[in-house]
């Protein structure tokens, strides 16, 4: 029976593709997270191969003969300390002498006569190689015991306080501290081996894979039971001997196997990628507390056991969640609603998890699947729940919670699945009134165009999506905060207030003066200090100088950019362009806006349905045999797409523009566009305002073209999903490549057109690009329209 369930899953293309996609996403995320993991844990960066080899050799020496090694190691450490001590003393003496004006020539040997080259060599080697041993050694023998002692003594202090406040020794709080003391006392005596620990701590920081796993589960589960109801097999299998209890049990087993499979394959992928990036892994058999990140782990487990436990928790959580979703899918009886409820459930969990809504000590955290799958929640330190005065640790609590969820939902699912329903879905010939009256717009219902608007926007309810999109845009724009005005920007604005406008000789002179002033202040420090020491100036004057100096230091970097701007303008002059000083911050933000994802998605989705609804319902066959159903209908649909996308793009552009002017200051709109350093390459003789208009127009045009392209492809693809996939891939894949570092993909990136500025920049950076890309886009659009026309209109 099990093999057939697996066969059913393998026959489900959606699930397979989704799994592959999530697998890839997880791999990519791992690839991205791996180099940053060390930084997250404040670990030093990886060593080069040669040094690593020497360190490895050193650890091997330790393992071969620990006593001899330790003796050597301790000796070197002592040498280092002695030298440090001697050096310190020598420096002190030297400083004193300098102050006194005497000769400062104290050396190490003055305080440690035995110091020689051999010792120095040993110390150098220590600093180069043995320090890596020291890291582990001092962590295990100095830091860790101190940590545990600290925790224990804190706990004892708490207990004393509780007693002092009159709480009994049987109370939960008291017991909790007792547990803490017991646990960390044991931890103190753990025989942790010294080794070159590596890899596992960074590996355990990776939690992004959980999202992939959960999303996969959300996509997998609704189909498990509902597919058979949808494809009509359900009544047949239900009427067989094993079609009830035995079948639902098999499905549960399948769910468990799939959860385990997903968890194991995803984790293995991450493990491999992290291993390659972070130089492999240390042993599984050492206690997990060898890693600093796991110092507070309250359980006595080896790295291997820890790994096993985390995997087990993930599998259990997924399985329990899947079971819950199965029950929900049976209650909702509808694929789309089940997916939606899964998303809502996952989304709610994610929001709570991400915003840290439930704080550290709130046991409700254990119901959040993201928190639990992170597994850090039960292993990072000792947490417990108050159950009738006793302490229930998080780890068993998780098993209990999710075990209960699993069992409870499994029972519900079995009952729902096996019981004979009282109601059957038979269509009744009742008169059902529409909620949106079709007759609401009688005047529209007379022309082909009017009908198209009605067909899609009203009967097809696209008007709702349009409204929703506008609301989303309004919301996201509202919640965009201003980039906090930094101090440097304020300084910059001050400078620009003085300099804004034409480049005049006075302004150039001012800049030079300012530079001279700053330079003088920066160089005068030593001199002023001397003067003060020689009591040539008062303390007040010296402080005044210090203030000026600090201000200058703060302004200097900003001023350097002002100077750069001046240099830029002078260079422009040589090219024959009279640029102006302009406050660039606002304009930079304005023109570096990327393309609007919401618009993109809407154009893609809306463009994909105009023709595909006709194909899907079989109306294409009928309409193409009518008088207006070819040429006129074809043109009308395009007009509708252009109109809706265009209007929406204009509204969005307007809203964005308003928001921009609210957040930033925009001045000097009439200055030549090259005044902005970022736009110096533009070869047209236009002002910034004119450039702005071109920019906004391009953005709108890009959306319209996207809509047109999608409509054309939909005639060829006939199905909405195929169409969207094809258009999305060709227009967005280059953008994704660029994000991952493949910069040259910008030449085939449609989103440059959608973002406006990038297109213009590339156009002027490379005329060839401009010509080719523009021709490709326009030619492509026209070509696609003609091709679509051939398919739809021509006989």
């Amino acid at each position: 029976m099990l093999k057939y369930e697996i066969k059913k899953i393998l026959g489900n293309k959606f699930v397979l593709i989704f799994f592959a996609f999530m697998f890839l996403v997880n791999a990519l995320l791992s690839y991205y997270a791996a180099p940053q993991a060390r930084g997250e844990l404040n670990l030093p960066s990886q060593l080069d191969a040669e040094t690593q080899a020497r360190v490895d050799a050193m650890f091997e020496r330790y393992e071969a003969n620990p006593e001899a090694f330790m003796a050597d190691f301790t000796e070197r450490r002592t040498y280092k300390e002695k030298r440090l001590d001697a050096m310190g003393k020598a420096n002190d003496k030297n400083m004193e002498a300098e102050m006194m004006g005497e000769e400062a020539n104290y050396t190490i040997q003055d305080f440690w006569p035995e110091y020689n080259d051999e010792i120095r060599a040993k110390i150098d080697e220590y600093n180069e190689i043995y320090k890596y041993f020291n890291r582990v050694y001092s962590y295990l023998y100095e830091d860790l015991p101190a940590i545990y002692d600290g925790v224990i003594s804190n706990a004892e202090l708490f207990q004393q306080e509780y007693i002092a406040y009159g709480m009994s020794a049987d109370s939960y709080e008291y017991r909790y501290q007792s547990d803490v003391i017991d646990i960390y006392s044991v931890n103190k005596n753990l025989p942790i081996r010294i080794e070159d620990r590596n890899g596992w701590d960074t590996y355990f920081t990776y939690t992004s894979g959980n999202i992939c796993l959960i999303l996969f589960l959300l996509a997998l589960v609704p189909g498990l039971l509902l597919d058979e109801k949808k494809n009509g097999t359900f009544p047949i299998i239900r009427a067989t001997r094993k079609g009830r209890i035995a079948l639902i049990s098999t499905k549960y087993l399948t769910l468990l196997l799939l959860s385990a499979f997903a968890v194991l394959t995803f984790s293995a992928t991450t493990w491999i990628i992290f291993g390659i990036e972070n130089g492999g892994y240390s042993s599984l058999s050492n206690f997990v507390q060898i890693f600093e990140a796991n110092a507070y782990c309250p359980y006595i487990v080896t790295v291997g056991e820890y790994l096993g436990l985390t995997l087990l928790i993930k599998i259990l959580t997924l399985f329990a969640m899947g079971s819950l979703l199965l029950t929900v899918s049976l209650l909702l009886k509808n694929h789309a609603l089940s997916y939606l409820s899964g998303l809502v459930f996952g989304g709610a969990n994610f929001v709570i998890y991400f915003t840290g809504f439930l704080d550290q000590n709130n046991p409700l955290r254990l119901l959040n699947i993201f928190t639990v799958m992170d597994t850090e929640v039960c292993f990072s330190r000792y947490y417990a729940i108050n159950v009738f005065g006793r302490c229930l640790q998080y780890l068993p609590a998780i098993f209990i919670f999710f075990g209960l969820i699993l069992v409870g939902s499994a029972v519900c699912t079995a009952v729902l699945y096996c019981r004979t329903p009282g109601v059957h879905k038979i269509r009744l010939n009742k008169k059902i009134k529409l909620s949106i009256p079709n007759r609401a717009f009688p005047s529209l219902s007379r022309s082909v165009g009017g009908y198209e608007v009605h067909k899609h926007m009203i009967a097809g309810k696209w008007i709702l999506l349009l409204v929703a999109v506008l609301l989303i845009k309004g919301y996201t724009v509202q919640t965009t905060d201003a980039v906090a005005y930094s101090f440097s920007d304020a300084v910059y604005m001050d400078y620009m207030e003085l300099l804004e406008g034409e480049v005049t000789d006075e302004k150039l002179a001012y800049i030079e003066d300012e530079r001279a002033n700053i330079d003088y202040l920066m160089s005068a420090e030593a001199e002023m200090k001397e003067k003060y020491q020689k009591k040539e100036i008062t303390f007040a004057e010296y402080m005044e100088f210090q203030d000026d100096l600090e201000t200058a230091k703060a302004k200097e970097p900003v001023f350097a950019t002002v100077e750069a701007q001046r240099d830029h303008l002078l260079a422009l002059r040589e090219r024959g362009i009279e640029g102006d000083f302009v406050y660039v911050t606002g304009w930079n933000h304005m023109f570096t806006r990327s393309f609007d994802y919401i618009l993109y998605a809407f154009a893609l989705v809306f463009g994909a349905v105009l023709f595909t609804t006709e194909y899907g319902s079989g109306m294409a066959g009928i309409l193409r045999t009518t008088k207006h159903g070819r040429g006129r209908l074809f043109a009308t649909k395009y007009v509708l797409a252009i109109a809706v996308c265009g209007v929406l793009a204009i509204i969005f552009g307007f809203v964005d523009h308003m928001k921009m002017t609210e957040l930033y200051t925009f001045t000097s709109g009439l200055s030549p566009v090259q005044s902005l350093p970022m736009l110096s390459e533009i070869k047209w003789d236009i002002t910034i305002n004119q450039y702005l208009m071109i920019f906004e127009t391009l953005r709108v045009l890009g959306v319209i073209l996207l809509g047109v392209i999608t409509v054309s492809v939909s005639i060829l693809g006939k199905k909405p999903v195929n169409t969207m996939a094809v258009v999305a891939l060709t227009t967005v894949i280059p953008y994704v490549f660029r994000r991952f570092g493949l910069g040259f993909a910008c030449y085939v990136d449609f989103t440059t057109l959608l973002s406006g500025n990038e297109y213009l920049m590339l156009a002027h950076g490379s005329v060839l690009y401009f010509v080719l890309f523009t021709l490709a886009v326009i030619g492509g659009c026209v070509g696609l329209i003609l091709w679509g026309r051939r398919k739809w209109v021509k006989v």
């Binding site: 269509r427 010939n429 079709n438 082909v448 009928i622 309409l623």
Partner: protein, 225 residues
């Protein structure tokens, strides 16, 4: 009079229609053959709908004029009911039929009158305002039949018009089709022998795209058995 000459159509290497030639006059013709014999493709080409019509070889002439030469004229005179359409689920029945009427170029008043008559003849008056998506398969089938008859076309092409209808509904539909067949050419693809026996004057049988028999319905029935 509809004359089909040497119609051939392949999808890649698969030949779906093989040199089909026939002349259709007024009356009801039953187009029969096993599933996959080319019935749907033939109807779809004659209707000049969808891509079946593209790159097909041969000629189709209506009253002596090749339809490729006068496409829009031809479209005024054709009614087509494809297999298994879901139409527009969100539309009301009457609104939908009005839409098709407008698309066929009928004036507003003329369209309203015809739609009303069709609703009566196919017993759809009760559900004229109901959204098509809420109706049973048999009812949707009748609506699909109705739209093919709008405008009193001279050539009516019906692909499995009575599938999903129970016996009484089927008889009513067949009666209506037969009445139209008195003044138009009706080509009805079907595999219900009762349909064939009931109203067809001639049966045209296809096998693997080839015309293998055309003649009386009794003979056709025995050939099929």
């Amino acid at each position: 009079m509809l004359r089909v000459e040497h119609l051939t159509k392949s999808y890649g290497r698969r030949v779906v229609l093989d040199d089909f030639s026939y002349t259709f006059n007024d009356g009801v013709y039953a187009l029969v053959g096993e599933n996959g014999s080319g019935k749907t493709t033939l109807l779809s080409i004659i209707a000049q709908s969808e891509n079946a019509a593209r790159r097909s070889k041969g000629r189709i002439l209506l009253d002596g004029i090749e339809i490729k030469k006068e496409v829009s004229e031809y479209q005024n005179r054709v009614g087509y009911m494809p297999q298994r359409t879901t139409l527009y689920p969100g539309y009301g029945v009457e609104d939908f039929l009005m839409y098709v009427a407008i698309m066929k170029g009928l004036g507003q008043d003329h369209a309203a009158k015809e739609v009303n008559e069709l609703l009566e003849e196919l017993h759809l008056i009760d559900v004229r305002d109901a959204p098509i998506g809420s109706l049973s398969g048999g009812t949707v089938q009748r609506i699909s039949l109705a739209q093919a008859l709008i405008g009193f076309p001279d050539v009516i092409l019906l692909d499995e018009p009575t599938v999903g209808l129970d016996l009484a509904e089927r008889i009513a539909a067949l009666n209506l089709i037969a009445k139209r067949g008195l003044h138009s050419t009706v080509i009805m693809a079907t595999h219900l022998s009762s349909d064939i026996a009931h109203i067809a004057k001639e049966a045209v049988m296809l096998e693997r795209g080839k015309l293998v028999y055309a003649g009386s319905t009794e003979n056709a029935m025995s050939l099929l058995a």
